[in-house]
Amino acid sequence: MKIALVIVSLLAATVAPALAQEEVRLGIRGYVDEKVNIAIDEMPGSPVAQTVAEVLAFDLDYSLRFNVLEGQPGVVRSASPGPDYESWAIFGTEYLVTGAVASTGAGFRADIDIHHVPFQRSISRKSYSIPDPGSPGHRMAIHEISNAIIRELTGEDGIADTRIAFASRRRGDKEIYAIDYDGHGSYRVTSLDTISMTPDWSRDGARICFTTFVSGDPDLYCAPAGGGRSQPLSTNRGLDMAPSISPDGRRLALTLTKDGNAEIYVLDVGGRSLRRLTYNLGIDTAPSWSPNGRQIVFESDRGGVAQIYAMDAEGANVRQLAYGGEAHSPAWSPQGDRIAFVERVGGRFQIVTIPADGGSGTVLTSTGDNEDPSWSPDGLHIAFSSTRGGGSDIYTMDWDGGNIRQVTRGGGYQSPTWSPKLGR
């Protein structure tokens, strides 16, 4: 018993210094198969402290990398500083997050500790400033703490600092809105009093581009992601729609009908040169880039019914990827290995994923009509619109269809598009 304890102590002494470095990262590269138990301690004090604890718990759970332990164990709060590691350990807690949140007069300061419970020590202590509640950056600042914790413990980028842009339909018009990925802080991006739809984020998250009828004929415009004046991007005769910005941010795949029917083109955003990729009588639309920028997946009804195809970014080597029912709106996963799209299954639209090189699909949804899949930047989640609750609302789910969460309420919401990471 004593010997074992000594060994453990020795181990702790040698391993602990390395805790914050490469070796102890949880090493989640692809999809998540093992979660680590983490607890967020109560953060006593102001309502802001409580919000911090709640947001951290939500974000860490959402990340799919942690089991966030619910409830407070019988933790002994002694006068001595530092957490009661033994009590936390009883519940299998691997990591513990503690924090103190105090007003600075101009906002708040959160001092956040990450503890390794078995080793009974703090492995990280950082201070973060949080703007006052009600100011625009308040929740985003807390989400950035979550991301720092995720990075510290996994070496991976979290997605807590992301938003979802979407179109909101009211009285026949549509405006572009954005909302935090957790359903808080919805705000209006466009105020054009016309139909504006199918938003896409620029790769730096600074702008949102969309199709709009503002000049009568549908054109592509972009607006600052925080809202503001819209500027034209592509204004050909006929439809200019379905913008998809390449991973390097330099090219824009889009659908134009200026040469007859809907065809896919790539616009070199810097040089303004336009290259046509598809040539046939079917509707070719909804392009989405592979993460390395070398391929484009799209939908086409060239075979009679809309189906999913892929091609090189130059338009060559076109091949059909899925052979199911009517299929739309493909989205290439940021991890590159899967493509999500919409397929008519038994008369309703469902979200399906297939391996990027083709193969049999997995149906992820089953209730209502489900459309417009959009991947989170870490490729572990999918935003989509669904009529499962009556009207069309925005939801998110895990990559395998689990953990469906409602993001908007009230109906009239379509075309969700997940932002890149927006934090520092």
Binding site: I283, H328, S329
Partner: protein, 181 residues
Amino acid sequence: MLGRRLTLLMVTALALGVAAGCSRKQPPATDDRGRVEPPPVTDTADADADAEARRRAEEEARLARERAYGSIQDMIYFDFDRSDLSEEARQTLQMKAEALRQFPDIRIRIEGHADERGTVEYNLALGERRADAARAYLVDLGIDPDRMTTISYGEERPAVEGQNEAAWSQNRRDEFVILGG
């Protein structure tokens, strides 16, 4: 004097243009071509008869124009996910062609629509295809393509709200908006 008449004509033409531009379902109840009726010159029975005949002719012209507006504004409908013209749609378009031939000053905008099923982008492309199909057929029937513009609203402007075939079948349509004439 000339200046005033011109102004009057322009105002009338403008009013006509606005009425035509705004009207979708209802033909404007304006008189033919915006001509201002001259006051009767004499008081004789002959002149009365002339005026009466002229009024009747103008009334008939107005009715003819109203009928033409009506048949031009008739919608055509499509099957699910299709943009080919049914026999019924062709007949409706033949009536439009006749009206358009009769009133060569009329220009139209063809608006393609889709039902809510399917994605926003696909439906926008489908709506455009439906508008193009009507336009191509009217061109085949001899109508000058320059008199027609097309636009697609996809699923964005349903004629009927509802999530059933009764609503959807009303929404898969082309609308025809009179722009001028």
